[in-house]
Amino acid sequence: MKKYQLGEFEEIVILTIAILYKEAYGVAIKNEIEGRLSRKVSMGAMHTALVRLETKGYIISVDGEATEERMGRPRKYYQITALGKRAMEHAKETRDELWGAIPKIALKLKITG
């Protein structure tokens, strides 16, 4: 059951990493989420999610180059692991399954109600 754990925000972050592909590092992820979803992302929330994803083994990080723009601090690029990919798929399948199980009437009621 609890094979793949992925919180809501974690799912957003890992999806964004997938979108950014090779360019996924802290600020880029933050900007991408903020741009696409029009919601504020705090550095704290995002990095906590990244740390969790990493400890779960869904992503790995690679130290990047130190740039002048960051006053010598290195970037850390994230990549999705095979396990991470399976977790993403699992999440999507679960959603789809649930969507499929909803009787049509319920949605209609929802719409009219």
Partner: protein, 883 residues
Amino acid sequence: MPYTGPPRAMLRLFRWYCHPRLADHIEGDLIEVHREWISKHGQGMANFRLAVELILLFRPGIIRPWQSPQFINTYSMYKSFIIVAWRNFQKSKGYSSINIFGLAIALTACMLIVLYVRHELSFDRFNEKADRIYRVNNEIKFGDNHIDVAAAGASFASTAKAEFPQIEAVTRIRWAGSLLVNVGDERVRQQNVGFADSTLFDVFTLSIVAGNAKTALNEPNTIVLTESIARKFFGTTDVLGKTLNIDDNKTRKVTAVIKDIPSNSHFRFECFIPLVDDDRANEDLWAGAQNYATYLLLRPDADPYALAVELNKMMDRHVGPELKMIINKTIEEFRGQGDFFLASLTALPDIHLHSNRLGELYGTGKIEYVYMFSAIAVFILIIAVINFMNLATARSAKRAREVGVRKVLGSVKSSLIQQFILESVLTCALAMIIALALTAIMLPQFNILTGKSFEVDVLYSPSMIASFAALVLVVGLLSGSYPAFYLSAFQPVAVLKGGSGSVRRSMMRNTLVVFQFVASVTLIAGTIVIYRQMDYIRKRDLGFDREQILIINNGRQVGNRIEPLKNSLLSVTGVRNVTVSGFLPVSYQRSNNTLFQSPTLDITGAMSVQEWRVDDQYLKTMGMHIAEGRDFSKEIASDSSAVILNESAARFLGGSGMIGKKLYTPNDATGKSVRELTVVGIVKDFNFSTLRQQVAPLTLVYGKDQSSIVLKLDAGDITALMSSVEAKWKSIVPELPFEYSFMDADYDRQYEGERQAGTLFTVFAALSIIISCMGLFGLATFMAEQRTKEIGIRKVLGASVYGITSLLSRDFLRLVVLAVAIATPLAWYLIAKWLEGFAYRIDVSWWVFPVAGFIALMIACATVSYQSIRAAIANPVNSLRTE
């Protein structure tokens, strides 16, 4: 304007709380967004937003865990310290054992002294109200008489209680002498009996095992026993309501049983009988007699100083009329002559160490001894600490390479200092464990020396353990600090280059050795002088003969059989003389009187004197000499009003022409009837108190006091003589126990305190020398080792064994000589101070100091020469072969 980054304080804050693994790139992210914000919103807004981000970043997962990963590093550092310490210890067992055993001996001495000092300082503090209890002293001066007694008149207590509301309770205590108790068929003499008021338990904390504290001492003919006495008489402590048969004709009912009075109480009575049995306890006497140790328990808010002033006013009101009656002077006139009558208060905890007045219930301690022994403890400890420092710095060459390597590998000075201090604390802790064992072993001996009774478990009380731990830390820090700074200051380049490793002559080291020997020489000189003074006291001509004098107690119970007893004792061959009197130069039976030179009892020329009732055989038996006039005689009837003065009394009264002089004394407190005494003789001065005091005026009157029977024996077979004396005693008074003592033993007992102090002093002096020599031995060994090659070359070039020995010893012996020079004036001063306490004392002879120095020098010589000679006779082939 170029971008300068976010405020440094913000980044520092972030780095402080952030997990080190995440810090770098999150910081990078922060800088990147901050730069962007500045270009969009300006500096202020950017900083504000950054601050918000910092707050939001402060969450689990990002902040640093509580146990920092650096902890593991320091842990292994300390582990390495301990391993290295252990390896060093194993590598040089000799030096390490000198260090550890030196410290262990010093700590043992220290612990014993701590026990002693703590016990002395703890006197009477077990009383719950100790800080509110005060004892009343009376200080009286009239004419040339000046006495300060630890007691007050009989009615002082009740009057003070009635007059001053700030006094919560009062109680009085007085010696009741001894009781002869019938236990089965036997009679047992019970010493340590005290009279006490029924309020005794209101003031003092004496825990009651059975009985009622409020009523225990209310009724006449009752008695309160301590547990051990109850067991002694009845075999059980369940004795409430039982009766004791006393002195053949009286009974006393046991009304309470109390716990044994602790050894740190200033009175250690074993039973109490009520003061209502003492006829004189209700006398309204103020000036006449001060016989009652009077204790006041003040209310918590009372001011003892203010009360003392009030108490003096009260004294004036009552002493005044009494003076008027006896000497016909008002208190103002009395004062006008420079005479006075004062009351003062001594706080209960101060009685033992700070009060040494006449009439203290039990002998008191001396604060001087507390200071002296504390000083010795510190001295000994310092000597051991110096050993540690000296050996550590002398052997520093051996550790220099380690220090060099540690420094090259990045060790900072502070952690090296930590290392050496940790090492010394460990050594000290090891020494403390050995010292604890040593102390436990020594404790019985120490009890004999000090006359105290410490149990081994006092060592394990929490407060003692805490103080021992503190001692370990202090000594460890002290002895480790100098070597730590010395060793950690080595330059790695210098020590790793491969220098010869020879040790510089150290000024500091020499100073320390000198200090050690100054202490040792002072202690040796002190020991010599104490022994000579004790010897002087033992051998001094006291004006009476104390050898072969037998004192038999229980004379009072003999009653009117005393004459037949006397005669039958005289008939024993070997008994030269028999006298009957309780007033002896060694015991405490004393009686004070005041003699006036005119029948009107004019106070000028009045003399406060001892008045001893003796018989016509007294002077002969005691071997005292008549200087002028004659002894009492049975044949002369008028001798019942005759008096013999001692030389001091004669001097007091004006010197010559004393024979035939009349002296007057009031018969009772009213001063109405006067007794006339005629001087018939003058006896040579003899010491009747300790040699700490000058011989005071004394009078002998012809009277009856039969508390003791004193026999002068011929030298010879004492055992046989004693058994025939005992046989005579048994034939006349078979029911009384035959209790006796010898006067010379009683005399020696008076100097028990000095003797104990002397013995302790010697023991500690010896210890300090042993420890000093251990250090010197270590140093000498090391120096000889260092100079092995030099000695080898010298020998090859033709140096003699003598030459090399003296070369090696010279340095040390020079230090010892310097120490003697410094110690002489110091010791002289201290010794002179101590001797001031004796009215009769030896002069400090000049030779004491050279002798003490010589002893120290000889011991040092023996210590050093063992190593020097060993080095000097070694075959140079061995020392030069290896290169």
